[in-house]
């Protein structure tokens, strides 16, 4: 008998249909992977199990959880189910915990809400839940606050809260999307262990096929509020029918075509660069503490090359980017662009700066919401002595927009009228408009859905061939780096630990850290990738 059974669930919010005839089952001890791109309704399906839905939602169909029909239950009964029968793990561990409460108090809260136990007993059980989430008491006592923990450790606290009452069903909504690859592997391992220990059902929601393929017993692929493919994982991968699921799989493994004409002349030379941050511990007169974010880093990018830079959060990637762009001065070493220093006399060298541009990760935060596209993409004109005017300006704007697959008419729109993928194209147009030689792509495709990501990668490959661009491609996603770069640098704690041709580094990593990274990266089973 299945633990959770959703049958023909349809859901609309204020009359707008969100889910259509969705059916899925979770059995005890099994993992159901729910895959879909943003807006596919995967999270909404999960939230409907707990009836944590926005106002104005109406559901029809059937959701039965351990024999109870959830849709007919009142709010009181629902409260009893939430947390006790169904636990939930969220995407963002930074905001899922209350910063003012200790982790012990937060885990104990779930227990106190549902069971009539004393506070001290709840604390004992909270300690047990944290231990099961692999946060042992000797290292992580109950009195710790969330800010004293890393992202992965916080996610373990969230998991401990979810499993404290040994629920029958655990819903994990993109539990590892905000985490680094190595941490992601550990958290997934933990979830798998807990499922088998407690004979719990797990509904794992993700946009990443590879993450789910490794872990899930069953699979549901959703698109536009409908289930397009369902069944046991290996069967689904082997007998994939629906064009959407095929496209999704193809996009996940997408390798853009590149000619990659690399010249021998170096474009950017980074030599022994050191970047220190100075912080005061106690106010103005306190001791100063030096933090070395980038430690004697040296590398070169050749003209026409696409160089990857991988590393986990906090390794110094972003600091290095800012130094290269001339936004921050370095404390040691030199950055030379085409032979000229990026920084001269404590000022950014404008002659060099106008030959570099950058594309950022977040398609939603990269644009001033009050400006029109025209003004947004022409911002880099500020770097030019004689920016184009009149008809020439119009031509340049149209050219930039068309080269990224948009139309010249889009210049009159505001940024909120575009989707995430389109915004990233606009960000690329903004970078292209002054015809730079080097574009730094700082996690430029990380926030995009797989199919959109594939399109943007194609676009980048095409542009580099057409316009002779050089890329510095910064990412934590090894598969993306592999598909678009010629050489790769692996960075850890401010230092470059390995460097070489991308394929060689990933196939035969030499440094321990690279080995760890490669091992932790989720991959689709080999027989599927071949298909």
């Amino acid at each position: 008998m299945s633990l959770l059974s959703i049958e023909n669930l349809s859901l609309s919010i204020h009359g707008i249909p969100v889910l259509k005839d969705v059916s899925m089952q979770v059995a005890p001890g099994r993992i159901l992977g729910v895959i879909g791109e943003s807006g596919s309704g995967k999270s909404m399906s999960a939230f409907s199990v707990m009836q944590l839905l926005p106002n104005g939602t109406s559901c029809s169909g059937n959701i039965s959880l351990a024999g109870q029909d959830v849709l007919t239950l009142g709010e009181r009964d629902l409260c009893r189910i939430r947390g006790r029968d169904v636990g939930m793990v969220f995407q963002e561990p930074m905001t899922a915990l209350n910063p003012l409460q200790t982790i012990g108090a937060q885990v104990a809260e779930t227990i106190l809400v549902h069971e009539n136990v004393s506070k001290s007993e709840a604390m004992v059980r909270a300690a047990e839940a944290l231990r099961r989430a692999e946060l042992p008491q000797d290292k992580f006592p109950l009195s710790r606050y969330p800010h004293e923990l890393s992202g992965g450790q916080r996610q373990r606290v969230v998991i401990a809260m979810a499993i404290a009452l040994r629920p029958k069903l655990l819903i994990a909504d993109e539990p590892t999307t905000a985490l680094d690859v190595t941490t992601q592997a550990q958290i997934l391992e933990l979830l798998k262990k807990l499922v088998s220990e407690d004979n719990m059902g797990l509904m794992l929601i993700s946009h990443d096929l590879a993450v789910v393929a490794d872990l899930a017993d069953d699979l549901v692929i959703m698109k536009n509020g409908e289930v397009v493919e369902a069944g046991p994982t290996d069967t689904v991968f082997r007998t994939m029918q629906h064009p959407y699921s095929k496209a999704l799989l193809a996009a996940s493994n997408h390798v853009p075509d590149r000619e990659g004409l690399v010249q021998e002349t170096p474009l950017l030379k980074v030599q022994n660069v050191v970047r220190d941050y100075v912080t005061h511990t106690h106010g103005w007169w306190g001791k100063t503490v030096h933090f070395r974010a980038v430690n004697t880093v040296s590398f070169e990018i050749k003209k026409g090359e696409s160089l990857g830079l991988v590393g986990e959060s906090g390794c110094g990637k972003s600091t290095l980017t800012r130094a290269i762009l001339g936004l921050e001065e370095v404390q040691g070493g030199e950055i030379l662009f085409d032979g000229q220093p990026v920084f001269t006399h404590h000022h950014a060298n404008i002659a060099v700066r106008r030959r570099m541009q950058v594309v950022f990760q977040d398609p939603y935060g990269s644009f001033n919401p009050r400006w029109k596209v025209e003004r947004l993409i022409t911002e880099p004109f500020h770097l030019l002595d004689n920016p184009p005017k009149g008809a020439e300006r119009d031509r340049t704007i149209a050219g930039a927009l068309e080269s990224v697959g948009l139309t010249a008419e889009d210049r009159h729109k505001y940024i909120h009228e575009f989707s995430g993928g389109q915004r990233q194209r606009i960000a690329i147009a903004r970078a292209l408009i002054i015809k730079p030689d080097l574009i730094i792509l700082d996690e430029a495709v990380s926030a995009l859905d797989v199919s959109v990501r594939a399109q943007v990668l194609d676009l980048l490959a095409d542009l580099s061939d057409r316009l002779d661009l050089t890329y510095l491609f910064i990412s934590h996603d090894l598969s993306v780096v592999r598909s678009i770069t010629d050489r790769v640098l692996v960075m850890k704690s401010g230092e470059i630990v390995e460097e070489g041709p991308t394929g060689a580094v990933f196939d035969a990593p030499k440094h321990d850290y690279t080995k760890q990274l490669v091992a932790a990266a989720p991959v689709l089973p080999a027989d599927i990738t071949a298909a």
Binding site: L325, L327, A348, I350, R353, R354, M356, Q357, V358, F360, Q361, D362, G365, S366, F367, N368, P369, R370, E379, P380, F381, H382, L383, A427, R430
Partner: protein, 276 residues
């Protein structure tokens, strides 16, 4: 236009505020009776057809007095908010652009200094030193608006400085002043407008308070605060003398606060999303 109906409080607030603004504007051209002419024979009359809100202890028409008083209150509050914004906002923008630097420290500590004094007390001091007049009241109230706007601007600007589009502007070679003007200011403008209406209503209260203790506008300029002060000895004899200016203050402040609330609902995209 339909955006006006997104908030329940905006329209009533706007209506109330506009009534008093209209009264003030009309009083520039025409008032029912001249407020500088005394008519002792006709004093302390109850509301009637000739005098809608009655007459005061010198026989002046209260409606006319309130209309002229609205002019004083609005002018004082408007200029005071203007001083606060025109000095406070640039200071806040500068402090945010130089976060953690010495300029930021100086600006913010100076703000703390002004904040540390009870505002009305300092206003009393200024008027005591430089003489009681509407102009000095404006300056006193204006000075205390500066840190309010500086702090608000700095706080909002700081979170904007972390956005990627600011970084993109820096990559485009723009300096902090230009970025503040082009990117930051338009994005904090909605907050400033809302705070502006709230400070406006506080300014009206402050002006009334100063005039009440005799440190605001001097006779013969009509002022709501002084009308209250003048009528308090006769409150049992002729309660309407105190009632009407009191109501005028109450309704204006209420109207402005409602309007500020409503503007926030409309201008703040975060709240708007929460409503839908």
């Amino acid at each position: 236009m339909s955006v006006l109906f997104h908030s329940r409080t905006l329209l009533p607030g706007l209506f109330l505020s506009l009534v008093f603004v209209a009264a003030a504007l009309i009083s520039l051209a025409w008032v029912p009776y001249d407020t500088t002419v005394l008519n002792i024979a006709n004093r302390m009359k109850l509301p009637s057809w000739e005098h809608w809100l009655g007459t005061d202890q010198f026989g002046r028409d209260i409606l006319s007095m309130i209309m002229v008083g609205a002019r004083t209150s609005i002018a004082v509050a408007l200029v005071a908010v203007g001083i606060g914004m025109s000095v406070g906002v640039p200071l806040g923008l500068a402090a945010a652009a130089r976060k953690g630097g010495w300029l930021d420290e100086i600006i913010m500590r100076a703000n703390d200094l002004v904040f540390a004094f009870p505002s009305l007390l300092i206003a009393v001091m200024i008027t005591a030193v430089f003489g009681a007049s509407a102009l000095n009241a404006i300056i006193a109230i204006g000075i205390f608006n500066i840190p309010v706007f500086a702090r608000l601007t700095r706080g909002a600007a700081l979170s904007l400085w972390n956005r990627d589009y600011i970084l993109a502007a820096r990559v485009a070679g723009k300096g902090p002043a230009r970025i503040s003007l082009e990117h930051i200011l338009p994005n904090v403008a909605n907050l400033l407008i809302v705070q502006g209406t709230i400070q406006f209503s506080l300014g009206i209260l402050a002006e009334a308070g100063l005039s009440y203790v005799g440190l605001g506008a001097q006779p013969p300029t009509a002022s709501w605060g002084r009308m209250l002060a003048d009528s308090q000895t006769m409150i049992s004899l002729a309660p309407h003398l105190a009632l009407f200016p009191g109501l005028a203050i109450l309704l204006t402040v209420l109207g402005l606060n409602l309007m500020g609330d409503g503007l926030r609902d409309i201008l703040d995209p975060k709240l708007r999303r929460a409503r839908v």
